[in-house]
Amino acid sequence: MSVANKEFKPLIVAFCCNWCSYAGADLAGTSRLAYPAEVKIIKVPCSCRVNPLFALRAFQKGADGVIICGCHPGDCHYSTGNYYTRRRITLLYSLLDYLGIEKGRTHLEWVSAAEGTKFAATMNKFVETIHELGENVRLEDLRCKSE
């Protein structure tokens, strides 16, 4: 099978905090705001629960993009969790940069429980970015491929 002919279907892992972003995603659902099915959401209590290594793990396993969503700064259910996230993801950006992985493959976004529209728009835009960047070939560990 020729790989070139195959339509690129990106694989995107989204981490959403339970209090704001996950609820924002729910609102996008209740409002029937479409975003690509490539986005798969994992619920975490707070964006600060997302270990940057989870993102690396996802890339290693073949994900093409990882997006982390949390409450807006100042609105964190746990007061300061999203500030930790912001710092950690900034470090992750520089690590990925150092590794030669496009920065655009990871993204951090603040989405409140009321921002269903923003959630859908963010996901649409992120998927578009990943389409432009193409398949993640640099980080994927081929030994992890099942087929």
Partner: protein, 661 residues
Amino acid sequence: MQRIGVFVCHCGTNIAGTVDVAEIVEMAKPEPGVVHAAEYPYMCSEAGQNMIINAVKEHNLSGVVICSCSPRMHEATFRKAAEKAGLNPYMVEIANIREHCSWIHKDKAEATQKALTLTRAAIAKVQLNSPLFPDESPVTKRALVIGGGIAGIQTALDIADAGFEVDIVESTPSIGGKMAQLDKTFPTLDCAACILTPKMVDASAHENITLYTYSQVDKVEGFVGDFTVTIRKKARSVDFEKCTGCGACSEKCPSKKSPSEFDQGLCTRPAIYTPFAQAVPNVPVIDREACLKFKTGKCGLCETVCAPKAINFEQEDELVERKYGAVVMATGYEPVSLDKFGEYSYDSSPDVITSLEFERLTNAAGPTGGALTRLSDKRKPKSVTFIQCVGSRDVTQRGKAYCSKICCMYTAKHAMLIKEKYPDIEVNIFYIDVRTPGKAFDEFYRRAEDEYGVRYIKGQVGKVIDNGDHLQIQAVDMLDNKKMELQTDMVVLATAIEPVESAKSIATMLTASIDTNNFMTEAHPKLRPVESPTAGVFLSGVCQGPKDIPETVAQAGAAAAKVIGLLVKDKLMSNPCTAKPDELYCNGCSVCENVCPYGAISYEDCEVNDHGVREVRRVAQVNKALCQGCGACAVTCPSGAMDLQGFSNRQIQAEVDAICR
């Protein structure tokens, strides 16, 4: 290996319309650990729940995956159903295939594929779930209120009336706070003392209330339901039990030169004193810095005149340790220092005073007996000028960026009080904006101008110059765009208010957070305004933000309701999804302790068994009652010792792997 049951909900056509439910059931069956898979039109219905309960029993399931709507919708429902079937409720995971799938995708093949991925992720997670049990902790049925102003008094009274014991800790010798210093109150102009002193007496007479005046909080340990607080009762040098409050000691005290705190330094008080006549408790204290006996060893006149022999120069600070279920912050405010506002000549001219000083000056029990006189030459002023927003709404280093909220109203009140007593005195008020939202507030402010002829001038004052006989005001009338050189006899500055300085250290002891202005932070600015983010700590009065008396009393009652709601419980059930350290991996670095917003992590020397070797190590301990389960510590831990139950590293990785498969 778990024995997992997968239950796929149609949600009518909400899910089944876009997702091929039957295919999900078929595709789930071969997944590792899955021993049963079924579908039903409405899983959340009683029949649907019974289907789950029966399947758990029939197939001896140890884990359950429900493919349905958002867990925010029905996770609780399904957890309860699992519990009914004898399963631990935390062995249930939800795959959100409605909000996150069927409702946003149109293509059936695509939606089914995504639903399957989400189902697989949930199955992979539940494989690693383990039963979790909420911790129970006892509740000490006693509350501590820090601060004895109107906020603290009201909170304490409300809690005490509900039948719980309350202690008030007040740093000054008497309860009453700032409200006791006020003359009249807006917008009704009833006298502050007339409405406050009965409450002070109620508080002291209430069988459930204990007052610790002239005391401070030294140490706080513990957590919601079980705080241990050390209270320092400063040495009064007067025996509380023996003193009758006759006042002979104060009368005879030869050292009468100390500025009176209660009268804002406008007059002096003796070294042995009660702050004001209606003080509660009516037991004096000796100011050891001013007392001749303490300074020189000679005197002791008070001891001689005290018939009940209550004076005790040897008395020492006493430390009291008590347990509490809840703590209420009611620490209140102070006017800001005007050191940096040289242009108003506050420091150089006695006739420029703050609003709180004006309250004492116009009060019948104040230093002038309520007669309005200039402090410089005791003359009655012909004209009084008020300046608003002194230090408020000021973004520079000098002031406070926020609006102090109460000043517009009390300035209108002050103007009316003058006009009421002395209609001949000319009153001018310089304002930037007049802000009077509140019941009957704007009507009140308008009366000052309409009925009493007070003149409101828009424009902040540039400079106040004291030229001996008069004060010269330099200002601009912004609406006329005209310079004003106003001669006046007295200037009253509506000084910004800020939280008392000690609030910061008390908040630190309670691990409760404060904002950039040192106001206490609420758990939620709209929905949980009287709770601090730290469980068991509640907020009352101005310590949370500028407030007038009615608002303070309302908030005090709200805080009391929250405290009562906590104290009526016999036990607290905690969220079991808390952090859990692995002692063997912990290297004692304290990084987790530093990121925890709740102070839930501490370090203790524990004996650990490292593969047969027993040794004492410094390892992290999580207080489950305090931990809220955010997971910040789990990510920050460099050795991977800390993990979050219910969202463990392995569980999330399993989800990632399942999605990326």
